[in-house]
């Protein structure tokens, strides 16, 4: 690891890299802070810009957008009571009441400190653990990879609230979209209708930006823009925390960190879940659980440490296995593939310098974010005042331009409009987004491994007879049927109580 240090440090004396890191972090914080936007959307929209960059610059820029977006999400939660993204949902529950009690400065200080701690230390853990996981992954074959992809796709279903069928339907759409183009191994044309633009597949930017970014903007406009309430910048001065604050919350911080790291590590899970789990754990462990929901400081520390700790956690399977920990790492895997970097255990042997550059960048960006937020704290209310009728048209133009840049032709921009239509239909039908992203990115990896496994063994039973693969397949099946199992369990519990 140490041998890569000169390479890594040399990347941060390049002015272009430093400028892009600062710009990416700044843009990411804005995307994270504004409700309706997110770091994931920032990564999606600006990804085509990286095509002309060398891979180190691209990694630094994309990770800066992501980390900035994750860290900025608490701003909307605290000041408006509206989460900047799903990762900061539970931050609202105590962050906003604190702000209403006149402690906005303290709540923001907790948010930015917790974000820093979660991101920075998870990057360190990730850097140390990922190579160990990769060494273990060398023992994995096509069967285990197939099963792992299935686990990643189904785990996100197990936590999807509401209708399980809708999550699975979204996964199915993702798999079909991932099938377009020539198939691996057999080179069979699939769903291309003699169209040369479809032969190479649909393209990640075209599909995902169309379905999520453009359709989201149109739907938001259709529902009617809700201008954010004006927040005063009075009192948003200084750092706002004392050593005692850290001492009081030390246990909460450590527990939330490991919850975030662990959940981030699980394929398909991410900050959207970890902040909720950490919040309820903090509440359960608190001596004053009745204060939660009314402005408890622990209720801000827990979700913010956990959702940011998920970053390092999610990067471990991404680097070591090539399996995304969440939808943003899925996008990053796609972006890195475009730059010729295939994540997985071999990446440590082939491009170990790049992997450690990623973890180092995350840790460094955590510091940059913290400094930016510390000095920019009093300007947070201005971020939330950006008028929607200016912001959304600009984002629409960037979305369409990114589709053109990605493909080099207007046909694909038109195709993106088609996927915008699909996205609107999906939203109207209540189909969730994350399963589609994971299935679209993981589908080709799963298919390649699954077909290889069939070529080696000639039977599907081999997926269950190999121990690791078998366990993973059982987990995947349990995830699919988890709502049924849960309802049976609840019914049994009810009838037991009745007796």
């Amino acid at each position: 690891m140490i041998e890569y240090l000169p390479y890594i440090l040399s990347q941060f004396i390049v002015p272009e890299n430093v400028a892009l890191m600062i710009a990416g972090t700044f843009v990411g914080i804005i995307f994270g802070a504004i409700p309706g936007l997110s770091g994931t959307m920032a990564v999606m929209l600006f990804m085509p810009l990286t095509y002309s960059m060398d891979h180190a610059t691209a990694i630094i820029f994309l990770l800066s957008l992501w980390i900035g977006g994750c860290s900025g999400a608490f701003i909307g939660s605290v000041l408006l009571g509206i989460p900047g993204s799903a990762s900061a949902v539970s931050t609202c529950w105590d962050g906003h009441p604190l702000a209403k009690q006149g402690k906005a400065s303290k709540a923001l200080a907790i948010g930015m400190t917790a974000s820093f701690m979660g991101t920075f230390f998870s990057a360190l853990f990730g850097g140390f653990l990922s190579e160990q996981v990769a060494n273990f992954a060398f023992a994995m074959g096509a069967w285990e990879y197939t099963a792992l992809c299935l686990v990643a796709m189904t785990m996100v279903l197990a936590i999807s609230k509401g209708n399980m069928f809708k999550g699975l339907a979204s996964t199915s759409i993702g798999l079909i979209l991932a099938s377009v183009g020539y198939s691996p191994i057999d080179a069979e044309p699939r769903f291309i209708f003699d169209n040369i633009y479809l032969m190479g597949g649909l393209g990640m930017i075209v599909v995902l930006t169309g379905i999520f970014a453009v359709s989201h903007i149109l739907i938001t406009f259709g529902k009617g823009f809700v201008e954010n309430p004006k927040v005063s910048k009075e009192g948003l001065k200084g750092y706002g925390l004392t050593p005692r604050d850290f001492k009081n919350e030390a246990g909460n911080i450590i527990r939330s960190f490991f919850i975030g790291l662990g959940i981030g590590f699980l394929p398909g899970m991410g900050s959207g879940l970890s902040n909720l789990v950490a919040y309820s754990s903090a509440k359960n462990a608190s001596k004053h659980p009745e204060e939660y929901g009314h402005g408890a400081e622990g209720g801000v520390w827990a979700p913010e440490v956990a959702n940011n700790a998920s970053i390092g956690g999610a990067m471990i399977p991404m680097a070591a296995l090539g399996i995304p920990g969440d939808s943003t790492t899925a996008l990053l895997i796609g972006a890195l593939t475009i730059h010729g970097l295939e994540m997985g255990p071999m990446v440590f042997a082939n491009s170990g310098n790049v992997v450690y550059l990623m973890f180092f960048t995350v840790a460094l960006v955590a510091v940059v974010v913290f400094i930016m937020q510390l000095f920019g704290k009093r300007y947070f209310p201005y971020i939330l005042r950006v008028p929607n009728h200016y912001m959304y048209p600009a984002l629409l133009v960037i979305s369409l331009a990114s589709a053109y840049v990605d493909s080099g032709n207007l046909y694909k921009v038109g195709m993106m409009m088609f996927f915008c239509f699909v996205g609107i239909l999906m939203a109207a039908g209540g189909l969730p987004n994350s399963p589609l992203i994971l299935a679209f990115i993981l589908g080709p990896i799963m298919e390649k491994n699954m077909l290889k496994a069939f070529q080696y063994s000639g039977t599907w039973t081999s997926f269950f007879t190999r121990p690791v693969s078998g366990i993973l397949m059982v987990i995947a099946i349990l995830c699919v049927f988890s709502p049924v199992i849960q309802s049976i369990y609840k019914r049994a519990k009810k009838s037991k109580e009745a007796v």
């Binding site: 399980m164 759409i173 099938s179 959304y392 048209p393 600009a394």
Partner: protein, 156 residues
């Protein structure tokens, strides 16, 4: 009887599943138990679409409460108008290029978005915003990162 949104979603998913199932059946490489071939991945997708579509449809039939409104009629109209404007923009870019068409699109959308949201904006602000943002995005992609944006068939 009013059709529930889940019923409609279910039917659409089933129809999409059947459509892709027909296409898969035309693949040249045969699907066998020992080697499923190129039909495997889309086959899983089709299976999922049909089963989930049926599940969502059944849930829709069981649903007693009325659907929550997703978008009002006026909201759908706003979405439709914006969608059509964007499609026209893509077509216009083909002939006139990015730099000519984009300021008009931005001006049109900011005006429409502001009007539909009941916001008062000044004309000159919208004009300056449209030109500055269009040029800034062009500058970011073209000179700064060396990419290309549509130049327009009429100017080639």
């Amino acid at each position: 009887m009013k059709i529930k949104r889940d019923q409609l979603t279910g039917v659409l998913l089933i129809l999409a599943g059947i459509f892709f199932a027909v296409l898969i059946s035309q693949f040249k490489t045969p699907f066998t138990a020992s080697y499923p071939g190129p039909a495997l991945l889309p086959g899983i997708g089709v299976f999922g679409l049909i089963v989930c579509g049926a599940g969502i449809f059944v849930n829709g039939c069981r649903q007693k409460d009325a659907d929550a409104v997703f978008l009002s009629k006026a909201g759908w109209l706003r979405v439709l108008i914006t969608f059509v404007v964007l499609c026209v923009y893509v077509l216009a870019m083909k002939y006139l290029g990015y730099l000519i068409v984009t300021p008009f699109l931005l001006y049109g959308l900011t005006t429409y978005f502001a009007k539909a949201s009941g916001m008062n904006t000044r004309l000159w602000v919208r004009i300056v915003f449209s030109i500055v943002v269009a040029v800034a995005i062009w500058a970011m992609y073209v000179p700064l990162f060396g990419m290309t944006l549509p130049e327009g068939l009429l100017f080639e």
